[in-house]
Each structure stands twice: as structure tokens, then as C-alpha cells.
């Protein structure tokens, strides 16, 4: 090989080596950038999966929670239905009881006595519903009341009937002071007690 040929070969070898180096650098840069990107991409993909898992858990929890809530509402609805039925039956039984003098007269007497005592006046006006106004034994009530009150109180009977299922309103003569001892008032005043006691009997196992 001539010196010229060797010289040109050296020139070309150097050029090829430089070319290889240039391409290798670019490929290394590509490799490095790809590796770095892979880490970021992997994190992004991982975030998507983790978010989906969280969402999935939330979806399951929400569906089960909604089902529990609806079930609870259904149960409460059934309980309310039964409680209302029991309250209604109680009301009917109490109304029936007002028709049996043996049961009702002592009850009404006590309510009137309590009303007179609470009113604290020498004269009390007793207001009854139309049925009681016609049928009740007023003399018996006056006699028992006088005996139990231990003092003389003048009892007057209002001629106008009141709207109630039973019991009495006891008022002062001027009607400014009124003690309401009707059965309707008792149902209203005792409603929470009635519901609680009925609930204990019906639902506590």
C-alpha cells in the first residue's frame, strides 16, 4: 500500500470513528431521555390505576351505603306504620273505655278532682263533651270530689259541650283560668311517652 493510500485510509477511518461517535452520542441521548420518560410515564399510569382503585372502593362503599340507608328507611317506615297503627288502636280502645261507665266514671272523677285542686278556686266550672254532659252521673262526681278534696268547692256544669273524646276542662267562673284534663290533651302530652313505651314493647327483643 502506498503512503497516499495509507494516508487517505487514515482520514476515512477517523471520519468513520467520528461518525460512529456522533451517532452513539445521539442514541445514548435517546436512551437516556426514554428511560427518564419511562419513570414519569410509569408514575402517571400508576396514578391512573391508583385513582381508579380509590374510585372503585368509593363506588362500592357508596352503593352499599345507599342500600343500607334505603333499608334503614324501609325499616323505619315499617316501624312508624306499626306504631301509628298501635296509637290508633289505643285511641279507639280509650274511646270505647269512655262508653263503659264502670271504667270511665272513676277516671273522669279523678281528672275533675285534679283540675279543681290545680285551679285552686272556691268555684269551678266543669266542661264536658256532649255525650258526658247528657249521660254522666254528675252527682256521683260531685260527691266523690268533695270527699277527696277535703274542702267545700262549688261545682258548676257548663251547658255548652266541648269538642273532645273524653275528660274535662275545669275553669274559673270567668273562664280566664282553664285546666285542660281532656283525653285529647293527654294523647298530645303523652305522645312521646306512648311512642317510647310502644316501641319498647314492639321492637325491643
Amino acid at each position: 500500500m502506498s503512503e497516499t493510500s495509507m494516508f487517505t485510509e487514515d482520514i476515512l477511518s477517523a471520519a468513520r470513528a467520528k461518525a460512529q461517535s456522533i451517532i452513539s452520542d445521539a442514541e445514548a441521548e435517546l436512551q437516556r431521555a426514554t428511560q427518564e420518560a419511562k419513570a414519569t410515564i410509569s408514575k402517571e399510569a400508576g396514578d391512573i390505576i391508583r385513582n381508579a382503585q380509590s374510585e372503585a372502593e368509593a363506588i362500592k362503599r357508596r352503593q352499599v351505603s345507599e342500600a343500607r340507608h334505603l333499608s334503614k328507611l324501609h325499616e323505619q317506615g315499617e316501624k312508624n306504620r306499626i306504631l301509628l297503627e298501635v296509637l290508633e288502636r289505643t285511641r279507639k280502645r280509650v274511646i270505647e273505655a269512655t262508653k263503659r261507665e264502670a271504667t270511665y266514671l272513676p277516671y273522669l272523677t279523678v281528672q275533675i278532682e285534679n283540675g279543681i285542686r290545680e285551679l285552686g278556686y272556691d268555684t269551678a266550672v266543669i266542661h264536658l263533651n256532649a255525650t258526658d254532659l247528657k249521660g254522666i252521673n254528675r252527682a256521683s262526681i260531685e260527691k266523690d270530689a268533695a270527699k277527696h278534696l277535703g274542702k267545700s268547692v262549688k261545682v258548676e256544669w257548663a251547658s255548652e259541650p266541648i269538642e273532645t273524646i273524653g275528660g274535662a276542662v275545669i275553669s274559673s267562673v270567668d273562664a280566664k283560668t282553664r285546666i285542660v284534663n281532656t283525653l285529647d290533651q293527654k294523647f298530645e302530652a303523652l305522645e312521646s311517652t306512648l311512642l317510647m313505651e310502644a316501641g319498647k314493647t314492639l321492637f325491643v327483643t
Binding site: 502506498s2 497516499t4 494516508f7 487517505t8 482520514i11 476515512l12 471520519a15 468513520r16 467520528k18 461518525a19 460512529q20 456522533i22 451517532i23 452520542d25 445521539a26 441521548e29 435517546l30 431521555a33 426514554t34 420518560a37 419511562k38 410515564i41 410509569s42 402517571e44 400508576g46 391512573i48 390505576i49 381508579a52 372502593e57 363506588i59 362500592k60 362503599r61 352499599v64 342500600a67 334505603l70 333499608s71 334503614k72 324501609h74 325499616e75 315499617e78 316501624k79 306499626i82 298501635v86 296509637l87 288502636r89 289505643t90 280502645r93 280509650v94 273505655a97 277516671y107 283525653l183 293527654k186 294523647f187 303523652l190 306512648l194 313505651e197 310502644a198 314493647t201 314492639l202 321492637f203
Partner: protein, 106 residues
């Protein structure tokens, strides 16, 4: 080979060497230009795959949730039915108790 011929050969070789280097630089430039698009392509593939997997996870959860919710409802229906049966058997006792409370309340 004459001196002139030798110089010509060397000049040609240098031209060829310059072309080789220039080709390499062009190729390197192409490689670098392709980095972003290659990364974007890989990212898109990975994210598409992750989204598909995520959708499957959510869909399974919805199906599982429905099944669990249905079980809860079924179990609750059974319990409510038992409660109604037990309570119905105690209605008379409850009414008696409430009547007593009303009529015996002073």
C-alpha cells in the same frame, strides 16, 4: 502516482470523510428529533393501557357494589320481615300498655 494525483486522491478522501461526518450528524439530528415523538408515543400507549385497566377496575367495582348492595337489601328485607312479624305479635300488649298509661295517668 504523480504528486498532483496524490493530492487529488487526498482531497477526495477528505471530501468523503466530510460527507461521512455530515451524514452522521444528519442521522444524529434525526435521532434527536425523534426523541419527543417516541416518548409521546410510549406515553400515549402506557396511558391508554392504564386508562383501559382503570375502566375495567371501576366497572368491576360497580358490578361488585351492585351485588353487595343487593345482598344488603335482601338481608335487610328479611330482618324487617322478622321485625314486623315479632312486632305484630306484640301489638295487643302494646295497646294494653298505652291504654293503661292514658287512663292511669293522674
Amino acid at each position: 502516482m504523480s504528486g498532483i494525483e496524490a493530492v487529488k486522491v487526498i482531497v477526495d478522501a477528505e471530501k468523503e470523510a466530510a460527507r461521512i461526518v455530515e451524514d452522521a450528524q444528519n442521522k444524529a439530528t434525526q435521532i434527536r428529533k425523534g426523541i419527543d415523538s417516541r416518548i409521546q408515543e410510549e406515553r400515549q400507549q402506557a396511558l391508554d393501557s392504564a386508562k383501559k385497566e382503570a375502566a375495567t377496575i371501576v366497572q368491576h367495582a360497580e358490578e361488585e357494589g351492585k351485588v353487595e348492595a343487593a345482598n344488603v337489601t335482601k338481608e335487610s328485607e328479611k330482618q324487617v320481615q322478622e321485625l314486623v312479624t315479632r312486632a305484630s305479635a306484640s301489638k295487643d300488649a302494646a295497646v294494653n300498655k298505652l291504654v293503661s298509661i292514658i287512663l292511669e295517668e293522674k
